[in-house]
């Protein structure tokens, strides 16, 4: 007689349009220029990082400002796989995820000892330590960094097929491959987070966010939940890092562990778009990219503007741009709300 559903009309629209978007995005390199493909690669990887950070902070309450640790270690692990083990770069990407996962264990062990805001700086310290340690890794260029060897970049799995398919030069084909991988990653991460929110774990996350004591008293293992979220986020961040530096083919500790690129920008995307929603980071990354393009010629004014916009958004619209939209018309493109249907039930949401 009673049924549970998460179905909404907006959700149905998403379910239909998402595959169309994905197919269109897959086919895009056939018509788009190399510059567009590179821009899209940038957007997709930033979106991936933003979704992951949003999972951590927006859903898990874990405000990390040390995500660059996992980007960096993921990228370096991929380089190590290629340079030291002679793996194909594409196959070395999972190594990045694995390395980040391994690093996440001691990171969580230390950072979880710090309460609240100090957790944030704790993760930052770990990121710095990782950066300094990696800079000692002479086989990978130490403090100055290194590049992927020519023979590795020229033999990346799948580039030959892309070259013949689109009639591209090698470097452009590599960009297309990276773009496709980024597309796969962002779909997997966004889809994975959406799936998580619709699973039991999603209820637990929401419960813990609302009230830790009450969550424990209904049987939620809050400690394990934190660990799970942190480890998942670290592994996915590591994969993204490996992919980003596969595309650039050059790495240095400064670039791979840059707090501005991999954490500050990501935080601004989430905050401006709307924290605690899947739609927020998507909207945020578009605003971010638009700002970046518009202010590209103004050097550091651009980052300053971004920082100030984030402050203003936090002060006046703490739920971000998507929050403004959703509060107006209750639109949810990724509905996870479980509704009970059956006799005697009135509206609600």
């Amino acid at each position: 007689m009673y049924r549970m559903t998460t179905h909404t009309r907006a959700g149905a629209v998403t379910a239909i349009s998402a595959p169309i978007f994905i197919v269109a995005a897959l086919a895009l390199p056939a018509v788009a220029s190399r510059g567009v493909v590179q821009d899209l690669f940038f957007i997709l990887t930033m979106l991936t990082l933003a979704q992951i950070w949003n999972l951590l902070a927006g859903y898990g309450g874990l405000v990390s400002v040390g995500q660059q640790a996992f980007v960096g270690i993921g990228a370096y692990a991929m380089f190590a796989g290629v340079i030291l083990l002679g793996w194909n770069p594409v196959l070395a990407i999972p190594l990045g995820g694995l390395a980040a996962l391994v690093l996440a264990v001691p990171t969580a062990f230390f950072a979880f000892r710090l309460q609240g805001a100090y957790f944030a700086i704790g993760t930052w310290v770990i990121a710095e330590v990782t950066r300094l340690l990696v800079a000692q890794w002479k086989a990978l260029g130490g403090g100055t960094g290194t590049s992927l060897p020519r023979e590795a970049t020229s033999s990346i799995l799948g580039t030959d097929a892309i070259r013949t398919l689109f009639g591209l030069r090698e470097a452009a084909a590599r960009d297309v491959l990276a773009y496709w991988l980024a597309l796969a990653l962002v779909v997997a991460v966004t889809g994975g987070i959406y799936w998580l929110l619709r699973s039991r774990l999603g209820l637990a996350l929401a419960a813990v966010r609302d009230n830790v004591d009450a969550a424990q008293s209904v049987g939620v293992d809050t400690g394990r939940l934190r660990w799970a979220v942190f480890l998942i986020a670290a592994a996915a961040t590591g994969l993204t890092g490996a992919l980003v530096f596969l595309q650039t083919a050059r790495i240095s500790p400064g670039a791979a562990f840059a707090v501005t690129d991999w954490t500050a920008n990501v935080i601004f995307i989430v905050v401006i778009g709307g924290i605690g929603t899947i739609e927020g980071p998507i909207l945020g990354v578009l605003v971010f990219f638009a700002l970046r393009s518009a202010l590209a010629d103004y050097g550091s004014w651009y980052l300053m503007t971004l920082g100030l916009i984030a402050v203003v958004v936090m002060l006046f619209a703490p739920k971000g741009l998507w929050g403004l939209i959703a509060s107006r018309n209750g639109l949810h493109l990724f509905p996870a709300r479980r509704r009970l249907t059956g006799p005697k039930i009135e509206g609600g949401i």
């Binding site: 405000v63 700086i121 310290v125 935080i267 050097g299 300053m304 402050v311 936090m314």
Partner: protein
């Protein structure tokens, strides 16, 4: 004898880190706010002092004296206009706001002062040193350390022997009840942040006189400050000095082994303390 020298240098360096940390500790102690822009505010103050020296031709000491009220007002305004609005049970808003401020400030400084390294000129004092028999110490590090001690004594005096200090501690314990005593918590917070900025100016003065600085080095100062505070145990200024000394000594020993290990050694010392004493060396009895 070289090791003794390194130890002394490290201890004196700890004084500088205690200066970095005291403002952070003060603000956290009173309003449970972690200001991620703290390091960048130090750099801002350093540029203010530098401007006083280069544009107005003042001596660094006078320039710092001029910068003090400016920084106090800035801290007061920052707290009253921005941070008071986001203080609350949820730690996310203040963290994100101060993080946004940090990035904005850093890039604003970069735009105004460029990425060039600068230094506050102090003339003859810069290289001067004092021969203590066993070791020779620089006058500047010695003054830094002495200033840190004077500052801690001063802050403790303010905290424990004045009505304002009483109001600080009462508000820190229980802001609602402090309100019932006629104390406006938001006003107290604004004054506290103002005072923290005065300490920041002192830190900036020594930072700028002892070494080169540029707009990008704020976050690293924040991290040193944070480590000193956590090692010391929240809420104890003497503990913060001890924390600063531990990091300073670790850094000088690390640097003696290999110049590349200086910063790393400081961080490792921090992590080691965290492992052994998660609540710091001198935790407050009441939390």
């Amino acid at each position: 004898m070289i090791w003794l020298d390194i130890l002394v240098q490290g201890i004196l360096l700890g004084g500088l880190y205690a200066l970095f940390a005291a403002g952070l500790s003060l603000v956290f102690g009173i309003m449970r706010l972690v200001n991620l822009a703290h390091g960048d505010l130090i750099i801002l103050a350093a540029y203010l002092v530098l401007m006083g020296v280069t544009l107005l031709g003042l001596s660094p000491w006078i320039a710092a004296l001029v910068a003090v009220p400016v920084m106090f007002a800035l801290g007061w305004l920052l707290q009253a206009a921005v941070l008071n609005r986001v203080l609350g049970k949820d730690i996310l808003p203040p963290l994100l706001v101060t993080f946004g401020l940090s990035v904005a400030l850093q890039n604003g400084l970069l735009e105004v002062f460029s990425a060039d390294s600068r230094r506050i000129p102090v003339g003859a004092l810069e290289g001067a040193s004092l021969d203590l028999g066993l070791v020779t110490v620089g006058i500047m590090p010695l003054m830094t350390f002495a200033s840190a001690i004077v500052m801690i004594i001063g802050l403790n005096g303010l905290f424990y022997h004045t009505a304002l200090g009483r109001a600080f501690r009462a508000t820190s314990d229980d802001a609602v009840t402090a309100g019932l005593m006629g104390i406006e918590p938001k006003r107290i917070f604004a004054i506290a942040t103002g005072i923290a900025m005065v300490v920041v100016t002192l830190a900036a003065l020594y930072l700028g006189m002892r070494a080169n600085f540029d707009p990008s080095i704020g976050p690293a100062r924040l991290i040193y400050a944070f480590e000193a505070v956590i090692i010391g145990g929240l809420g104890s200024l003497w503990g913060t000095l001890a924390g600063g000394i531990i990091i300073g000594v670790a850094q000088t020993f690390g640097a003696a082994l290999n110049p590349e290990w200086q910063i790393l050694a400081g961080h490792i010392a921090f992590l080691a303390v965290m492992l052994l004493k998660p609540r710091g060396l001198f935790p407050r009895a009441v939390d």
